[in-house]
Amino acid sequence: MIASEIIHLFESAVGPMRVITHPAERKAFASDALLHYHEPPELVVFPETTEQISSIVKICNTHHIPFTPRGSGTGLSGGATPSPESVVIATAKMRKIHRIDIANRLAVVDPGVINSDITKAVASAGYFYAPDPSSQSVSTIGGNVAENAGGIHCFKYGFTVNHILGAQIVLGNGDIVEVGGEAMDMPGYNLLSVIVGSEGTLGIVTCVTVRLTAQPQSIVTALVPFASMESAGAAVSAIIAAGIVPAAIELMDQLTLQVCENTIHAGYPENAAAILLVELDGPQAEVEARIADVAKICRNYEALNWKIATLPAERALLWKGRKAAFAALGQLGAHLFLHDGVVPRTKLPEALKRLTDVGRRSGLWIATVLHAGDGNLHPVVLYNDDQEALAEQVAADILTMCVELGGSITGEHGVGLDKREFMNVMFTENDMAAHQKLRLAFDPLGISNPGKIYPAPNMCGEGAKKYKQHPLEQNGTITRL
């Protein structure tokens, strides 16, 4: 419980209207999009300026109150789920685009600005903000920075980290620090590199300088059905081995494509075992030459058909199907558990095979979508109320499999609360201790979103009850990297 005198301090920092104390209202902030975890915050504050955030954090610092930054709460790993007894600092009232500088291809924006609003603001000038998580119409740039969000076009364009030039951050003691800037490669440590992807544990980002990218001259999207996931996966490898860098290259299995087709009617052939969506962009002659190469390769791998879309509306429809995958699967009525593991691209065929085995063994349905170019798998596990333990076992199997094949437990959704107990499958105690020195440097008291990313020795069992069992180690499948 936060004492009422301290609540008054927060109220005087941001104004009473900008502090939520009522239990029913606070409850709305108890989870992010991973609803398994919920922990109502003590308070929610809605600052409007960096200075207000600094004042809030200073109060937290003085009174040792943890805080959890929150954007739109669309995170999928429990990152914005409040740390126990914490204050949520929500950026919803900070949505200004401060400056657009086309000559230097950058924009300076508030942390609460919605990803796609940046593109809307610069589209008429011929630019866009490249990282495009499927949640881009609702997720904030602050949340994207914190999670190092990826998206379907990140294969060619890179992840959030490759598109951030500078940031202003409020540290755990309330200090306001500027890192990076409008020029690249400034002297000193590249602190931006670690702030991006730090899931709110190094402080709260209060202003972001993003890079803008020129719109490509020409874009083509191909829809290619295959008779098996294996042949589709092999086609992906062959396309990339040919030196082609698609703007996006996405693979969906039969269950996913059928469900998407039923909801969106994007024109996916429902009898196919898998479909590949390949997008190429760039100078027109380049796109024309390369799409012909892609077609040839797909034919060599026994593609069932070949359809291309060049008109914006046609292309958008093909992507709408893909982007609706998660929501469409949700309509099947089961609980969903969405995974985010990564394997080296050459291990995709094996990963897909093992995933099928996992599904068969457990008897659970697994629908798989993947950012095939980067080897980032999104298996969605469907389960009923009474199958929760089974779903957890499947989760453990999938994550372990990814690490065993030389990959990672998360490609874009972050570790958060959800996968912190799996960090030791990828990293040794020494590794994690080395990583966490950073946290001490930014936030010596450990009040900035505590308990996220790394298994916190002193908080064992507090937030995440789910993976306490450690089925991995029990069944002896863990190999430490």
């Binding site: 230097n104 001259q217 002659a285």
Partner: protein
């Protein structure tokens, strides 16, 4: 280093310790011993020993870039990483390569070339320069604009902390957000946080063709107009560079596409430039600058690059400087053959100009040994946070002490 520590060092690391010679001095500061480890465990043992005895350690790859930063405030052990030069894993299908930190960039590029791939950095260093050194310095060449910096190529690393702890961060896959990206942080940290022992980089496919186009212009203002026209168009060159020419300046663009697409881009470029400027196929310009006593590197927002270059040329009159302007991403590299006091003056006049534009000016080169008072880095706004990071990773400040920003 006291006599006891030195004796123990020789005893414990007998077959890998040697006496330094004059050329091993780092900006005039001579190390006491050279230790040349063959593996990570030895590095760990050496660092643990150094930490216990409070000995300063200067990591060195091929020694290609030691004249960067201030002279070390102390130097006991020169940690020579050149024996750690094995490519550990190269998986062409994954386009990733993992190698020990002492592997030369030349060896990496040769291995990758066999599969028509390459590591997308082209800093102006010799082929023998090591990837660990290049990562630690964080320098870039013309490929920065299309492919990003060294930071953007690194996927993971193994490193040894100042107390001897061996640790890893990142991974060997191109997409991964598990844990803090310490590997990326170590890029550009000049070996002041940890010693890199193994690095995994992403590789890129060689484009089908790569051609350079030159657009000559008599003045820098004209070059600026050309650059602006190009940057505001839908052309997508891989690099935009401005270099001096016999009768003015040349804006050099690289295009990396299929032959037909290059043709298309060049046609569009000619249309864009109209009658006023010609655009010709040229050989790749030589972006390598002669090695002189001093090198000044300027970072600036791209649109400010040529205006700042103009100032550089004015202020440096009548000194001769060699330069290349990476206008595509906002940097100017110069090589200056001048007396130390002239460089101090130049830096004093130029640095405020760069900083006012949101950029920075960094001085490097062997000449720095004659200028112990000159801060090669300039002021850095987030220096206190950087110091804090340093204090947790290297609390006794034994790794490259005094060489980095703000005396780190």
């Amino acid at each position: 280093m006291n006599v006891n520590a030195e004796q123990e060092l020789f005893a414990r690391f007998a077959n890998i310790v040697t006496e330094p010679s004059e050329k091993d001095a780092i900006l005039g500061v001579a190390p006491k011993v050279i230790v040349s480890p063959a593996n990570t465990e030895q590095i760990s043992a050496i660092l643990a020993f150094a930490a216990e005895n409070n000995l300063a350690v200067i990591p060195r790859g091929a020694g290609a870039q030691m004249a960067i930063g201030s002279a070390p405030s102390r130097a006991d052990i020169l940690l020579d990483l050149s024996k750690m030069n094995t490519i550990i894993a190269y998986e062409p299908g994954d386009m990733t390569i993992t190698a020990q930190a002492g592997t030369s960039i030349g060896a990496i590029q040769r291995a990758a070339a066999e599969y028509r791939q390459f590591l997308a950095i082209d800093p102006d260093v010799e082929e023998s320069a090591t990837i660990g050194g290049i990562a630690a310095v964080g320098i870039n060449g013309t490929r920065r604009m299309k492919y990003g910096g060294v930071y953007d190529q690194i996927l993971g690393a193994q490193f040894v902390l100042a107390d001897g702890t061996i640790a890893r961060a990142g991974g060997k896959i191109v997409k991964n957000v598990a844990g803090y990206d310490i590997a990326r942080l170590l890029c550009g940290s000049l070996g002041t946080l940890a010693v890199l022992t193994e690095v995994t980089f992403r590789l890129q496919p060689k484009p089908p063709f790569s051609r350079w186009i030159g657009v000559p212009s008599p003045t820098l203002e004209a070059a600026q107009t050309v650059v602006q026209l190009i940057r505001q168009s839908q052309l997508s060159p891989s690099a935009i560079e401005v270099v001096p020419a016999a009768d003015g300046f040349v804006t050099a663009l690289s295009f990396e596409y299929t032959a037909a697409a290059i043709q298309e881009q060049v046609t569009a470029l000619r249309q864009l430039l109209g009658k006023k400027y010609g655009a010709w196929y040229i050989a790749k310009p030589n972006f390598s600058l002669p090695k002189n006593a001093f090198a000044l590197r300027i970072s600036a927002p791209p649109s400010q690059t040529l205006p700042i270059l103009q100032k550089v040329l004015e202020i440096s009159e009548p000194m001769h400087i060699d330069w290349v302007a990476h206008v595509g991403f906002g940097a100017i590299e110069t090589s200056v053959n001048a007396a130390p006091d002239a460089v101090v003056r130049l830096t004093g006049q130029l640095r405020p100009v760069c900083e006012a534009a949101g950029g920075a000016l960094v001085v490097s080169g062997d000449g720095l040994s004659a200028l112990p008072e000159l801060d090669p880095w300039g002021t850095v706004s987030s220096a206190p946070l950087m110091r804090s990071v340093k204090s947790y990773y290297d609390p006794k400040s034994i790794l490259n002490p005094g060489r980095f920003v703000d005396g780190i």
